[in-house]
């Protein structure tokens, strides 16, 4: 188990390193481009050279990468070109806002999709199963940017119940959270529900469930005590992988609702070529994604004794 954990963490560090090299090469390979992006297209050639000189861009590539990585690990991401402040000052509050959004999405989506998945998988092929399965295909087919528009057409312009933007300019408002969270749940729950259903349906065909039913246990007890415990191992991994999906989803949702979060920051930075913000955001995104995958793998091994003891 310990070996496995250290292997996984080692792989995680390796991934982060490779990603950082790729990112560095992609964005900072030619110092000239960096200067243009930082100082703007109308800056003079001398100003660019001076800036490059001062920030050590005439050192060899590997040396530049080393010092860049060193700064990165210390949390010094450079200055944002657009906001004129250190990147970390912009990044952390934005990340916190997205964490709030993600928390509410998960807090509602996970119980909902697990319950629906278990209900559907309990009796495979029943009417309830077909409704839930087809319903989850439909909700997963409507992309987030489409459902943002549809839902705001209904709730903002039609019924006038909810505000159309979630910029939170006057402090935190629950009302402004409802639509973004709803869009993310609608798009994401279908996948988890279908995985839970598949896992549950598989467990229901096993011998020990048949035995439990045949020995006369109440159906409720068979489900709660025997089936659920085994059926929920696979969805656990899927749920952790949803964090990766969520990071994509928040970009669209935050952009549409003008929510001041991490996804919107990354998008703005990309559109404005704000390269140090792009670098910091991309590394944070990959870190969150890789860390959640690592936890998923370790958790899966821990939960599943068949893997743990072999």
């Amino acid at each position: 188990m310990l070996i496995m954990i250290s292997k996984r963490i080692g792989f995680m560090v390796l991934t982060m390193l490779v990603v950082s090299i790729l990112l560095f090469l992609l964005l900072e390979y030619s110092p000239g481009n960096v200067a243009v992006k930082v100082l703007g297209p109308y800056s003079s050639e001398e100003a660019r050279q001076l800036w490059l000189e001062r920030h050590g861009y005439f050192e060899p590539l590997w040396w530049r990468y080393g010092s860049w990585l060193g700064n990165f690990i210390n949390g010094e991401f450079g200055d944002s070109v657009r906001f004129r402040v250190p990147v970390s000052e912009v990044l952390w509050p934005r990340l916190w806002n997205t964490a709030i959004l993600g928390f509410w999405t998960f807090a509602i989506m996970i119980p909902l999709s697990l319950i629906l998945g278990v209900l559907a998988g309990m009796r495979e092929g029943s009417r309830l199963d077909r409704i839930i399965s087809v319903g989850s295909i439909i909700t997963t087919s409507v992309p987030e940017f489409a459902s943002t528009v549809l839902l705001s057409a209904i709730f903002v312009f039609g019924l006038k119940w909810l505000p159309g933007t979630s910029s939170m300019t006057s402090g935190f408002e629950v009302k402004q959270m409802i639509l973004p969270v709803m869009v993310l749940i609608i798009y994401d729950f279908g996948y988890v529900a279908r995985m839970t259903r598949a896992s549950m349906a598989e467990v229901m065909t096993t011998h020990y469930i048949r035995t439990a039913i045949l020995k006369g246990l109440p159906y409720r007890q068979v489900i709660m005590k025997h089936a659920l415990r085994n059926a929920l191992i696979a969805p656990f991994t899927v749920i952790m992988l949803q964090i990766n999906w969520l990071l994509s989803g928040v970009i669209v949702v935050e952009f549409f609702f003008a929510y001041k979060g991490f996804g919107a920051l990354l998008l703005e930075a990309s559109l404005n070529q704000d390269i140090f913000v792009i670098e910091a955001c991309a590394m944070v995104a990959v870190f969150v994604a890789v860390a959640s995958q690592t936890i998923a793998d370790i958790g899966y091994t821990y939960l599943n004794p068949r893997i743990r003891f072999t």
């Binding site: 792989f11 991934t15 490779v18 990603v19 990112l23 992609l26 964005l27 087809v134 295909i137 439909i138 997963t140 087919s141 409507v142 992309p143 987030e144 940017f145 489409a146 528009v149 549809l150 705001s152 057409a153 903002v156 312009f157 159309g164 990766n244 999906w245 990071l247 994509s248 989803g249 970009i251 669209v252 952009f255 549409f256 990354l266 998008l267 990309s270 559109l271 070529q273 792009i278 955001c281 991309a282 995104a285 990959v286 994604a289 890789v290 995958q293």
Partner: protein, 297 residues
Amino acid sequence: MSNIIETVTPAPTPEAAFMRALKSFALLRESTPGMVGAFLVLFWVIVAILAPLIAPFDPLATLQPMAKPGTVYSMGGTFWLGTDHLGRDILSRIIYGSQTVLFYAPLATLCAYTLGILMGLAAGYHLGWWDIVLSRISDIILSFPVLVLYIIIIATIGSSGINIIIAITFASAPGIMRIVRGLVLDLRNRDYVAAAQTRGESALYIMLVEILPNARGPLIVDACLRLGYVIITIGVLGFLGLGLPPPDPDWGGMINETRKMAMIFPHMTIFPVIAISSLILGFNLLADGLREVSLRD
């Protein structure tokens, strides 16, 4: 010796493979969601092909700004779905937009499949270093949140049709590679592969002629699903302002351009949303139906 050769199961011929593929499409009749999906996809394909014949107006012409659906145009014709803020007919733009999406999405998927299949075949057939290197590369690419990857690529290389295809190929090939690799690991020990090896066929021949045709079943299902994702991706990129440059009609771009006016003129945004959602739903249902049918036999 002749004994052994006789017991070797021959690799299915291309004709037989084609007939089986046809049969599984025929079996699709038994799956209602699959039929609905096939119908939706077919509908949009026909719309795209017949676009010049059925579109009532030129999709780029500015005619009468902000007309409500059903407005009769003074120069003749009706705006069945209204016009957008620049006075372009929305129905015509949706019709021509289907051409855009049904051109770029399959092309990008095809590119991603070509690369992914080659990677998967190489990794699964040769194993060893090939496998380690290719698997690690795809693990790393797959660890990116997809949209983050697209945004970084497009922001760096710029947004154009070709760059979108490059970005999609780069981001989806690793996922395809994993599937192909898994299938190849299962197929590489079959008798007909051993027979081809004994005949002295080259590795490339064995991979492409002996193994690949036998791995197609799961790949067809995955391709349908992936087409849906690629359409979403193209739509999202258009929506975020990183898609195909205007003025060409592109559903995601149409939604983005008009979403701020959705309060007063909901028709400008709703119809492209319905169009793109129905096409994605079509591919998802088709994939689901095909999987159901293929599991049956």
